[in-house]
């Protein structure tokens, strides 16, 4: 019984650590925004002359609505309009970029809200003059003063600061991701840029594995809403951070293999422990089997008895082992603050494998003993 308990518990702990490590690496990876997908207008041709991308006006808000409706692999989508300029506070000013976005944008780009709040639906609909500011802007304009509730001016439009973005640092290319102001896309569209189109669309795939599907669905949706016929070239570009995605998936694969190896080995070790204990304890009872045979027990009666015993032992031991494993995992998680994840699969797998081994090695030596001549079993030392 002890063998089964320890076997099951250790397998569960090992798997929990493995899964936890995998999960924590996954979280860190996706914190980098690996499922980010961008769509921007493609190069436009006017009479053989190629125009710059930013001049294209083909992206509309309806495209965003269509993507939201038609792309199951995409979890969040936001329009994006930007404008560079000076942010002014009193006699201070700072060159920065204002992004017009909706509330989902924070999630897409993995921005956190440090303090304050995001936009309300009404604020978006009424082109409200509100904004959130990044840390770099806060430092340069306000110093140590509290910016929330104050107004800054951007291209002469006063914007009330309703929140501060959490610090994000530089991105992969050394660009400061905290040097920005975010306002409702309607505000930037109507009040600052005075345009009706949008400059790009930011979206995130529901998970890393759905990246490819998300790109495909987004392309399809845009082609449909831009009324492009089969054979027409795309008038937009869809881009994802495919390099990072590849790196991520290779790391994820290595983790999966590692985890498989860990669980395989811990199952093996637990299994061998159980095997030994069951084998020894049943073999020790050969004399008992001999006695049972000599008082008239048939081989099958005795086998059945040992089978039932080892099933009960394995099941009870397994249940205790599961609880012990879960408790040990939690203790370890709280003491060593190690990330742990207990999955149902790991519990079921360790229980099944350990019980199967326990039952087999309770039954097998009993079968051997029961097939002996009763006198040999009785004399067994």
């Amino acid at each position: 019984m002890l063998g089964i308990i320890i076997g099951v518990a250790s397998v569960i702990v090992m798997l929990a650590i493995g899964q936890g490590s995998k999960k924590s690496i996954q979280d860190q990876m996706s914190g980098m925004g690996t499922n980010l997908i961008f769509a921007m207008p493609g190069a436009e041709q006017k009479g053989g002359v190629r125009m710059g991308n930013s001049d294209a006006k083909s992206m509309k808000l309806t495209d965003v609505d269509a993507i939201e409706k038609n792309c199951p692999a995409i979890s969040d989508v936001s329009p994006e309009v930007r404008s560079s300029g000076q942010a002014v506070l009193g006699n201070q000013n700072w060159p920065t970029t204002i992004y017009g976005v909706n509330n989902k944008y924070f999630n897409i780009k993995k921005y956190t809200i440090g303090r304050g709040r995001t936009f309300t639906e009404t604020e978006i609909q009424t082109y409200a003059k509100v904004c959130l500011v990044g840390q770099t802007v806060v430092e340069n304009l306000f110093g140590k003063a509290d910016p929330i509730g104050q107004s800054i001016r951007f291209k002469n439009i006063p914007l009330l600061i309703i929140g501060i973005l959490g610090e994000k640092g530089e991105n992969g290319m050394g660009q400061d991701q905290d040097d920005l102001v975010m306002a409702p896309y309607t505000t930037v569209q109507k009040r600052i840029l005075a345009i009706t189109h949008i400059q790009s669309i930011a979206a995130s795939a529901a998970s890393e594995s759905q990246n490819e599907a998300a790109i495909e669905q987004m392309t399809e949706s845009l082609r449909h809403s831009h009324k492009l016929k089969t054979g027409d070239a795309d008038d937009f570009q869809v881009r994802s951070q495919s390099e990072m995605v590849q790196m991520f998936s290779s790391i994820s694969n290595i983790m999966t293999i590692l985890l498989g190896a860990i669980s395989g080995i811990s199952l093996l070790v637990g299994g061998i422990g159980i095997m030994n204990i069951m084998y020894v304890s049943v073999t020790e009872r050969t004399r008992e089997i001999g006695l049972r045979l000599s008082v008239g027990g048939r081989g099958n009666d005795i086998l059945l008895q040992f089978l039932i015993e080892s099933i009960l032992l394995s099941v009870f031991g397994g249940v205790i082992g599961i609880s012990l494993g879960i408790v040990a995992t939690q203790i370890m998680a709280s003491i060593m603050s190690w990330p742990v994840v207990i999955t149902t699969l790991s519990v079921i797998m360790s229980f099944l494998v350990c019980s199967a081994i326990g039952i087999f090695f309770g039954w097998y030596p009993a079968r051997k003993a029961a097939s002996l001549n009763p006198i040999d079993a009785l004399r067994y030392e």
Binding site: G290, R292, S294, G296, G297, G299, I375, L378
Partner: protein, 248 residues
Amino acid sequence: MKKTIIEVKQLKKDFYVGEITVHALKGIDLEIKEGEFVAIMGTSGSGKSTMLNILGCLDKPTSGSYFLDGISMGELSKNELANLRNIKLGFVFQSYNLLSRTSALENVELPLFYNSKIRSKERRERAEAALEAVGLSDRMHHMPNQLSGGQQQRVAIARSLVNDPVVILADEATGNLDTRTSYEIMALLQDLNQKGKTIVFVTHEADIAKFMTRQIVFRDGHIIREELVTNRNNAVELLKTLPIEESV
């Protein structure tokens, strides 16, 4: 004319130890009638234990015939032999062979447990009756390790009685016991024999064999002597002559 319980003709048993063949029994003819108390004697290696194992259907003879209560053993399968042991035979071993961590009562119930015709209520009643018959009604729920050697052997005898066998086979049943306890066990067996039980008792001690009705002496796989015990000892009488030991 009393019924013949055991009838053995030209029984041989060979053991193969590596390349050497050991002829343990070299053609035994033997008849035991109902109500007898037979001592099988002989030095070690004489074949007496092998004989008992075959009589107990624990081992199969190499050749020859063996009829137990009119049934031929030769053609029976393993399971049929097990059934026969369950119904017709009772065993008492030198080392008791009780199940540890199992109460006296449950130990005695064990043979009936393998008889599907007996319900649990009857099993309990018969086991209690058997323990009473060996004088252990106050020790029913003790574990074997809480009992003395003599008491353990009594439990074993109760176990051999519980299925009401045609013959009780005892293998050196007093071998591990001191003289007084041995005599007590013999008194119990004599009493059972008086009540009609057939008993076959393997021993190498001549004074123990004196308690029985017939002696059969084995040597080198043959029966060399077979005689009725003339001046048979009475264990109860003899017990009175033993000096009473100081209880510690």
